[in-house]
Amino acid sequence: MTDRIAEREETAVAAPRIDWIPILLTVGVALVALPLIGSFSTWMTLTVAALAMGMIIFIMASGLTLVFGLMDVINFGHGVFISVGAYMSLLVLWPLTGWVESPSIWLNIAVLVLCILVAMAISGLFGLAFERVIIRPVYRQHLKQILVTMGGLIIIEQLLHVFFGGSPITIALPQNFRGGLAIGPDIIVERYRLIAVVVGVIVFLAMMLVLNRTRIGLLVRAGVENPEMVEALGYRIRRLFVGVFVAGSALAGLGGVMWGFYQQTLTVGMGLQVLVLIFIVVIIGGLGSIGGCLIGSLLVALVANYTAFLEPKVALISNIALMLLVLMWRPQGLYPVVKV
């Protein structure tokens, strides 16, 4: 009896321990790249750019890994929510062109925040409908989930075609976010990348806080462990899951806005293109792990940037190679969460 209590206490203490090896690995990759690149300022520019890129990837991927980790639903339609988010920012950008071109930084920030809010709201709504119509009948059936979410992806993508047309749409960054910023001798960082880092850090901290420090987060985590018990205690687990799915879709929408501004060109297929990258990231990070998703995003972005500088041909397959290496080392990803 006492043994069991002691054991429980031990696991309770052991739970928040952080596995440092993947984090050190990411830092190690950056450090190894330094002598290979040779010049410190080039290395610094590449690294900062990669960190920003990694943050955008993280925002896009976090929703997918959240939904999978908590609901055990693999959403191949996630990519299309990214496109939806990006296109919805047009609804703000078209009427508010004056704010975009305005020299006032506050109006610029306001327009970005508005874009984000609108995109998150609408892709969240899409998520609500998507969960209700497409995913609900196929809970716990992975094969069918892959098929129907793929079908949902095709449908929403085609609807975007209908309403926005098939040709690429260029969008302009708000006035003050354009161009670069010198943060040291010969080190120039695009301003927008700094904003991406800020947004990414906010998203990461918010997710961590909600999941680990609030009642809803507690319920969600409990629901993952033992849904029947949570239900028996009087909570509606379905509603909880719907909320998680909507949050995941809204995150995809947010990622879509950030990605759209980053590319400055919107195409209907952009979500599907980036979906592959997102899959690689969540596989590397470990399906369902949010910390792993962050590390995976940064690792992928760093490796992609360094190889693109050192050996452009290799960069074409650097992501895949990285994924295979990680899987050889840890077949479940860097931070294994999901039970096989």
Partner: protein, 372 residues
Amino acid sequence: MLSRVLSGDYPRSPILTAALLVILFALALAPFLFPGAQPLNVAAKICVFVLLVASYDLLLGYTGIVSFAHTMFFGIGGYGAAIVLSRLGPSWSALALGIIAAIVVAGTLALLIGLFSLRVRAIFFAMITLAVATAFLVLASQLSGFTGGEDGLNYSVPEILRPSFRLFDAPLFGTVVNGRIITYYIVFFAALAGFLLLLRVVNSPFGSVLQAIRENEFRAEALGYPVVVYRSIASVVSAVMAALAGFLLALWLRYTGPDTTLSFAIMIDVLLMVVIGGMGTLYGAVIGATLMTVAESYLQTILGSLGKLGAGAGIPFVSTLLSADRWLLWLGILFILSVYFFPTGIVGKLRTHWLNRKNKALQKRSGSASNK
């Protein structure tokens, strides 16, 4: 005899049997029944896609794993033919080398992917194959020195297969038997042989184990069947067949490029064909591939004219919703509906329909017998 050819797997529904026979005869006699380049093109495409979709069904329908790399193997077959023919010139030995190389590459790659990802979780397989296939597509369109890049490769085929070649001096049944028709028959018979071989595979003890794995992985493992090994073999067989299909397409088109073999659109087509035709029945591949290919070739124009009608009536968005480019929208809806409401597809529906009728007739007969 017929049982041997079909490996004991009959269509088990009169409507299905009739449909299959019609398709078989139409394809077998296509050059004589439907003269002209366009219908023959459609017929050849159907043959290739029947084989491709059937090989995909071995994975999706029989083994229960989703792969998004099937077009990659299709492409390996296509590029196998394209690269040898454009490098070594149009000779039969080059063709033989091409197909052997394609089979070896496709098989090895499938085995590697399988060993990497099949031991973890089925979901990983879907995601990893998607990633690998995308990387392959990027490589094929970037390494232009080797693959021709975005433009693809044009090449000529051995002399007998060229349009200018005549097998007989006089036309046969009103059709000139030229190299194109010979090529068509090579495609047709190779696809038929491949299909029958796949039918043999799924109806063998090996195929039964695959279905057992699909139904209950743990039980199959507990009964002593190494699941990973079986799945890997299934994925290798499927990859080799897809490569063969790609090879046939390359032979027919005399052109191979990323759009004809590797693009994601083809992967989606294949998925739709399998699901609409019927997962877990190879005859579903025949029905699905034929319906979709014919519809894609002819129905798009009908949809387009419907859309113009709608625009004429002044209803907004109807013309865009119904335009020929938006045909994927309707297919997507059909796809989801079929996954929900008839997961066994057209073939499954026909079979259960026939089974119910037979059972009812049996009950009636036994009912009237007991009354006496």
